[in-house]
């Protein structure tokens, strides 16, 4: 009698422990996310309402930093650049990615060789990408000089030194780095489509063009959405590439919100304004990500 009771108590403890174990295992991660992500977001949010300069201060100044921020011409430059960069980057990557995926999907000889060639830039850091392209686009030693040496004397390509055009060089380098990855996403989508649907449509007399426009592309909707989300979040976070390629210049012509935040916070000692710009960046990403994540999670249930 006593032994069974003892055993009961023991198994009780064990099952209790088993019940709690999963939560204990998960707890450190949840705690660190709560502190390092959400706690830190609140802290930065708070700082954006204070007059923090070089060091954090806790003197509340209301919306002053936001008002200052929106009165800075360079902030508008950064936002305008982000708009140009993000839209071109997303559109061009998607178009190239889709094109290459569709073409590669036509029983191409050497697909096994081409795919890694398209994909390898994604293994490189934006710093390496920027270093390579900075040099390649430098008129004095790169593409322009080569073309001239090859006999095209009037060839001129000075975008990287041009205030109005420099932002497009960032688009070129970024597209080079990421478009292969987008290709892989679309290719996976294409390979997942049931061929019988396509065959049926063909028997009904659909042309290749109609086949893709009416059937394949609509079926790729999830891949489009994933590509959009990944690319837009990469665009808003873009920092390294600008630093490596143009350093934000010439002048301030290739500043993005990410480089703006860094220079105002750490170089110009205006932490309050830097924090305010970070808050705006976060809100922009949240506006894109939260609906997407919500839909994803709901669907999976």
């Amino acid at each position: 009698m006593t032994t069974t009771a003892g055993r009961h108590a023991e198994t009780d403890f064990r099952t209790r422990l088993q019940d709690w174990l999963p939560k204990i295992v998960l707890a450190p991660s949840v705690a660190s996310v709560m502190i390092f992500v959400y706690g830190f977001i609140l802290y930065t949010l708070y700082l954006s309402f204070t007059n923090s300069k070089m060091l954090p201060s806790y003197d509340w100044v209301g919306l002053e930093n936001y008002i200052k921020l929106w009165n800075l011409p360079v902030w508008y430059t950064a936002l305008a650049n982000l708009a140009i960069f993000a839209s071109l980057y997303i559109v061009i990557c998607t178009v190239i990615g889709l094109l290459l995926a569709v073409f590669l999907d036509q029983k191409i000889r050497g697909e096994g060789l081409l795919r890694p060639i398209y994909l390898y830039p994604m293994a490189l850091s934006f710093i390496v990408t920027g270093t390579a392209w900075k040099w390649f686009l430098d008129p004095g030693i790169g593409l322009e000089k080569t073309m001239r040496l090859w006999g095209w004397e009037s060839f001129s390509f000075t975008w990287i030194k041009d205030n109005d055009m420099a932002i497009y060089t960032i688009v070129i380098a970024a597209v080079w780095q990421t478009s292969g990855f987008v290709m892989a996403m679309f290719l996976a989508g294409l390979r997942g489509i049931d061929n019988d649907i396509l065959k049926a449509a063909q028997i009904d007399g659909a042309s290749n063009w109609q086949l893709y426009r009416r059937i394949v592309i609509p079926l790729l909707r999830p891949a489009f959405l994933s590509a959009f989300v990944i690319l837009s979040h990469l665009a808003i976070k873009s920092y390294d590439l600008v630093i490596a390629l143009t350093g934000g210049g010439p002048g301030t012509s290739t500043q993005l919100p990410a480089t703006f935040m860094y220079s105002y916070t750490f170089t110009r000692k205006s932490m309050g304004i830097g924090a305010a710009s970070a808050v705006i960046m976060l809100m922009t990403i949240a506006a894109i990500m939260i609906p997407y994540l919500y839909a994803e999670l709901k669907e999976k249930k």
């Binding site: 999963p22 996310v33 036509q106 270093t131 030693i141 350093g247 935040m261 860094y262 830097g274 960046m281």
Partner: protein, 292 residues
């Protein structure tokens, strides 16, 4: 999968096919060109770069730029070459990848096989953390690392990368384990297997593909990270920050060949990982997280 590939329903004529091949080859050239240029010019003497054509093969082959980039080039103020920074990156990447992958695996296991009330909300919170712009955490992180005495140190960088990496690793493992039959776990529970036993004996043996994905993802991201490295690296800066210093140092003649050798050195580890295991990465990624 390959059966589907081989049997595509679309038929194309000869002209279209030629066109397709041309486009594919042009793009291959576009992707290869900058890297080709880097490699070719990293084995040339500087005079051939400033005086010659970037597309031309070297007249004099030399490994001197590589040696300089590795051990004597001026990085910041010290003529140390990139070697110490390469070591910093290695010491940072290995533990950070290992820890975040193990934690991600355990989290994914709990979130799919030991579900409890509110687990979806916790997962959602972790998931969103993958996508925050890191600018929002830079200021408090710098302060906290300072308070903990970890500012400018490799352990500090490890902490940062683990903390902001577990969102992704958890996502990968959760999606992967979600497809694993829960009945098997139930059966093992009834047989008296405990939490860790089930993880060790049942989940881990089938986790190969997703471990590959998680390791490659984390390795690439952490090795390639620049923002955290430059913000919190201090004197223990990783390779990316050092390369940027090397390339953008304003003193003296710009030794492009050394810069290229340095850039390739910075890219080499991730390139090797990608060449060795890239195939599994894309495959696993498609199956796991990005629904194509």
């Amino acid at each position: 999968m390959s059966a589907v590939t081989q049997d595509t329903a679309v038929r194309t004529g000869r002209i279209t096919r030629t066109f397709i091949y041309v486009v594919l080859l042009v793009f291959a050239l576009f992707y290869l060109l900058p890297f080709f240029v880097m490699v070719v010019n990293s084995v040339k003497p500087l005079s051939e770069i400033t005086g010659g054509n970037m597309m031309a093969l070297p007249q004099v082959w030399t490994l001197e730029p590589w040696r300089q980039a590795w051990s004597t080039a001026q990085v910041g103020v010290e003529p140390t070459g990139l070697r110490p920074y390469f070591m910093n990156s290695v010491m940072m990447v290995v533990p950070a990848v290992a820890i975040s992958t193990v934690v991600g695996a355990l989290n994914g296991y709990v979130l799919t096989k030991w579900r409890f009330r509110g687990d979806s909300i916790l997962f959602g919170l972790m998931l969103f953390s993958c996508f925050i712009p890191f600018q929002i955490v830079l200021i408090p992180m710098a302060r906290l690392l300072g308070l903990m005495g970890l500012a400018g140190s490799v352990p500090g960088l490890i902490l940062v990368h683990v903390v902001y990496g577990i969102g992704f690793t958890t996502l990968y493992f959760r999606n992967y384990y979600a497809a694993f039959p829960t009945e098997l776990v139930r059966a093992a529970m009834i047989d008296g297997a405990g939490f860790f036993q089930i993880f060790w004996r049942i989940m881990l043996p089938v986790s190969g593909p997703i471990i590959v994905v998680s390791v490659i993802w984390q390795f690439t991201n952490i090795w390639n990270d620049f923002l955290f490295g430059v913000s919190f690296g201090g004197t223990s800066q990783p390779m990316t920050a050092a390369l940027n210093n090397l390339v953008n140092s304003s003193t003296g003649v710009k030794e492009y060949n050394v810069h290229f050798a340095g850039a390739i050195l910075a890219a080499l580890p991730t390139l090797i990982v990608y060449i060795v295991a890239g195939r599994y990465f894309v495959r696993g990624l498609m199956a796991g997280s990005v629904k194509g």
